[in-house]
Symmetry: C2
């Protein structure tokens, strides 16, 4: 095993006997608010998978998106959360067979390669390493590790990501609030704030959003929204207003209703673009494929149900879409991906020998 | 005169004989990139005003928007630029009769009061102080100090601001990029970047913006736009892409053309909202009023002329709009405002005596 860069993080390993008889997989889901690492035993091949899945340990740390916290902090967070999960499992790095790291901010092969280099510095060379955008873990959490179908995530941000069974992939949206993620929680809330300003200016129709949003934020006048908005650039803080907009729409406010309708169309459009590019719907347009739905905007489960509307909008064009609400978290999806990847590589190596 | 907070800034005053025979006015224009201070002699009442206007000195400093640089830095910048202008004029604070300070970021009476308190700490009590949003100085630069009509500013940001002759005022837009300033340079450029991402995703039509913007930024793929966009949150950096979009529209790109058309409608809508609220067009809708046009987006003067299109869009509803392109800078407008304010207050005091 290599000499490791960061001694302290891995100090616990000296106190653990090498558990050579229990090989493990690490699955990581790194979002913009937190990072979760799951340590799972290597499962025997079985269909269906055991339910519940055996999880040895779960560890949580802060943000590991390098765009948000910088490379050094991101790397330290990832390393720490893996060490925590192994330590909690009574395991260590020599038991690890594969690591699947799914982090937000992986948008380009250079991002992937940089993270692979980090990981290679931590784990011995036989460990299978697999780096992906966090959307891929969310897909796997709905398909129990199979990379097939399309996932739609809509929380503070939004992205649609899909895979064909033969390994082609495509994405749509996920480019953040400046680059047109209008269907996201942030997008919905920013449009509602804009509607309040426009009504106040005389550029748009009156809306009950004005009263509801000002009351929620403890402000007296729409003029004060400007100061509130720019005082803290956190996207999640603005996205937290989504329930207020849903309530206004449920009470019949046309402006709020229009914002949610537009969001439904935007979210459905991202999925349709991915389905189209990958031909997930087959040549006749009716083939079935998993459509995994994840994130606060889709799970609100209110009378005005954004997730339900998105599914019906997609189903009109692609009746084969099979909506799935995952029962496990994305980090488990990442671990299942890591396991699949390990099995495939191991069989391939055995075959080539 | 009071004891002054910041000794060093005003040290030059010890070296200047008090020029009691030459009373002066200070006009300040504080934008998000720079702050300009003009020192003008108090003019005798004349109509028309002397051309060119007598300017004793001009000083320039950095950003003085408290939302952007914080209160302490904003105050120091304002104090320093006033001291520089007075020092260059061979004058000092005892010669100052009025100060008109027009700074961006003044959106609420509490902003105004805070800045008045700063100024009151610097100048003796007989000096007339006048604090406004920077849009008001831009209006005055077109009307030579008269607060009547509407100004439309469209540079990195945008705002419409208007006054009636009897002193009522109204504004529209100016709430920044998150709150719907879609017609601004930033708004135009962000929509163009979004169009590139959407075309790449399969969510929108192909556009020549892709090739032109990537070439301008030295990027190879639309995927790299995400990293470029979020690497530096400066609005001006994104707004700098406007000429690329204008070129694409001139060459017939429909996506670019639509973005500019939308921007024209947005900008015209801000002006119409102000005109409507203030009744600047009179009861029959045909009364004439000054329409001052300021900022890089309106001054591009290309074949696709955004400013010209905005004026025709406004004129269709309000044929009395008289477009004015100011010949002096906003800080001179601020000084003229300060002068008008001083004259009015002085006559009022004389009358009440």
């Amino acid at each position: 095993m290599k000499r490791y860069r960061n001694g302290e993080i891995w100090d616990f390993e000296h106190e653990i006997a090498v558990p050579g008889d229990r090989p493990v997989i690490l699955g990581l889901d790194g979002g913009t608010t937190s990072t979760v690492c799951i340590c799972m035993p290597v499962l025997p091949v079985s269909n269906p998978l055991p339910d519940p899945l055996p999880v040895l340990a779960r560890a949580v740390a802060g943000c590991s998106n390098h765009n948000s916290v910088g490379e050094t902090a991101a790397r330290e967070t990832l390393e720490q959360v893996m060490a925590d999960a192994l330590s909690k499992s009574g395991s260590n790095r020599s038991a690890v067979q594969a690591v699947c790291l799914a982090v937000s901010g992986v948008n380009h092969p250079t991002d992937e390669q940089r993270i692979l280099n980090w990981l290679r510095d931590i784990f011995p060379s036989h460990v299978k390493l697999y780096v992906q955008n966090d959307a891929v873990a969310a897909l796997a959490s709905g398909t129990m590790g199979k990379l097939h179908g399309c996932v739609l995530i809509a929380g503070t941000g939004t992205i649609a990501y899909g895979f064909t069974e033969d390994g082609r992939e495509a994405r749509a949206a996920g480019a953040g609030p400046i680059l047109g993620d209008w269907g996201s929680g942030y997008g919905i809330a920013a449009q509602a704030l804009t509607a309040v300003v426009r009504a106040h200016d005389g550029r748009g129709p009156e809306t009950s959003l004005t009263h509801s949003i000002l009351r929620t934020l403890g402000l007296r006048s729409p003029d004060e929204l400007i100061g509130w908005t720019y005082a803290d650039p956190s996207w999640a803080r603005i996205a937290a207003l989504v329930p207020v907009i849903v309530s206004c729409a449920e009470e019949g406010d046309e402006v709020a209703d229009k914002i949610l309708q537009d969001s439904v169309e935007e979210l459905a459009l991202s999925v349709k673009a991915v389905v189209q590019k990958l031909g997930l719907c087959g040549e006749d347009g009716n083939a079935s494929f998993p459509l995994v739905m994840v994130g606060g905007v889709l799970e609100a489960n209110k009378r005005w149900d954004i997730g339900k509307e998105v599914v019906s909008c997609i189903s009109r064009d692609y009746p084969g879409a099979l909506p799935i609400r995952p029962k496990v978290e994305p980090a488990v999806g990442a671990a299942l991906l890591g396991w699949n990847f390990f099995m495939k590589e191991t069989y391939k190596e055995a075959y080539n020998r």
